[in-house]
């Protein structure tokens, strides 16, 4: 499916473009965002450009399985995230990051709910899952609020700042009750 455009009351998801390279670099340079990313260093703008050129060439394919999107507020890029489909196309993993200056206003919850609804209603996947660092309590709350349940803790799931970190597995299935949106 292309192009994807998801509009909430305040934030929107749209397709990433090569022109977003600088904004993506700036977003990842936010220490509070970068803390939970697996990268060992923030990619340079040129690296984002190269990635986006390659990625944008694939998004019109009919068998699209990767949806990397930009999160915007009043037209400004304030986050990024997306959906990865399983090979069968029946399960989807969601992920997102939001610039820390916008934390605490419910914007992440709105952004995550848009992704969940996109997976269940538009892509028609049966199961939506996500992982969070066990210490990322804000993100765990967001996922709970949009309807994902905690299903277990995966030990040693990621390596960051010389330490192994555990991650929570969150899942929601199409027949689960969906919390009220908005």
């Amino acid at each position: 499916m292309h192009p994807v455009e998801l509009k909430g009351p305040r934030v929107s998801w749209r397709e990433l473009a090569v022109a977003d390279a600088q904004d993506m670099h700036d977003l990842m340079s936010d220490p509070q965002v970068f803390r939970y990313m697996s990268d060992t260093e923030v990619p340079e703008v040129a690296a984002y450009e190269a990635f986006l050129i390659e990625y944008c060439a694939t998004i019109t394919e009919p068998e699209r399985i990767r949806y990397k999107l930009a999160l915007t507020l009043d037209g400004e890029l304030i986050g990024s995230g997306g959906v990865d489909l399983s090979p069968s196309g029946r399960k989807s993993e969601i992920g997102y990051m939001l610039a820390s200056r916008h934390w605490g206003k419910g914007l992440a919850t709105e952004a995550a709910a848009l992704l969940v609804d996109f997976c269940l209603d538009t892509l028609g996947t049966h199961r939506v899952w996500a992982t969070t660092d066990v210490t990322n309590h804000a993100s765990r709350r967001v996922l709970a609020k949009v309807g994902l349940r905690e299903e277990g803790v995966m030990r040693g799931y990621s390596f960051k700042d010389d330490v192994w970190h555990d991650s929570v597995m969150h899942g929601m299935v199409a027949t689960d009750e969906r919390p009220l949106r908005g």
């Binding site: 349940r149 995966m154 192994w164």
Partner: protein
């Protein structure tokens, strides 16, 4: 890493070749085998041979992250399985295997699985090895426990089988966990 060859007291893992196509399709046609595996159509031998050729080519690259191997007993194909990472730089891998019913019940599964864990930690230097199983597949869960894996959680409605979504349990072992005596 290519080629991989690992020997245990009774069985061995080795790279698959296109010459294994007949034996593997024969084995996979056994109706006893697929009770717990996800729905999958069995390809014909010719298609499967082509598929093996593609996999072997990918296995010979430095980006190798799938180790799809054959299990042999006295030189004869007795099963297949292996180890899969999300990328060549990943620190975790999922293991899985199938054993022909003729070899069930004698601890062969435990031997096969523990050799994969050794491959992951000792040769590929990974940090985490995990496996999934159907909650009703007690034999398989028992094997995972015997090789030192611990239960981490249950993914709800994770596998589509016989027209129904089934849960899957996740087990994992870390390089720092004790590995039971071999």
């Amino acid at each position: 890493m290519y080629p991989v060859e690992i020997s245990g007291p009774r069985l061995a893992w080795r790279e698959l070749t296109t010459g294994d196509a007949d034996a593997l399709i024969d084995m996979l046609s056994d109706p006893g085998l697929f009770r717990y595996a996800a729905d999958q159509e069995l390809p014909d031998v010719e298609t499967y041979r082509g598929f093996l050729a593609e996999q072997i080519e990918a296995a010979r690259t430095p980006e190798r992250h799938r180790y799809k191997l054959g299990i042999t007993v006295d030189g004869v194909i007795a099963g297949m399985g292996g180890l899969e990472m999300t990328s060549a730089t990943a620190t975790a891998a999922e293991i899985g295997y199938l054993l022909a019913p003729a070899y069930w019940g004698g601890g062969m599964g435990t031997e096969a699985a523990s050799l994969l864990v050794d491959l992951a930690f000792d040769r590929l230097k990974l940090h985490r090895v995990f496996a999934g199983a159907d909650p009703a597949n007690h034999a398989s869960i028992r094997v995972l426990e015997k090789i030192g894996m611990r239960y981490e959680g249950t993914r709800r409605e994770d596998v589509f089988k016989d027209g129904k979504w089934r849960d899957s349990v996740t087990y994992a072992i870390l390089e720092t966990d004790a590995r039971p005596a071999r």
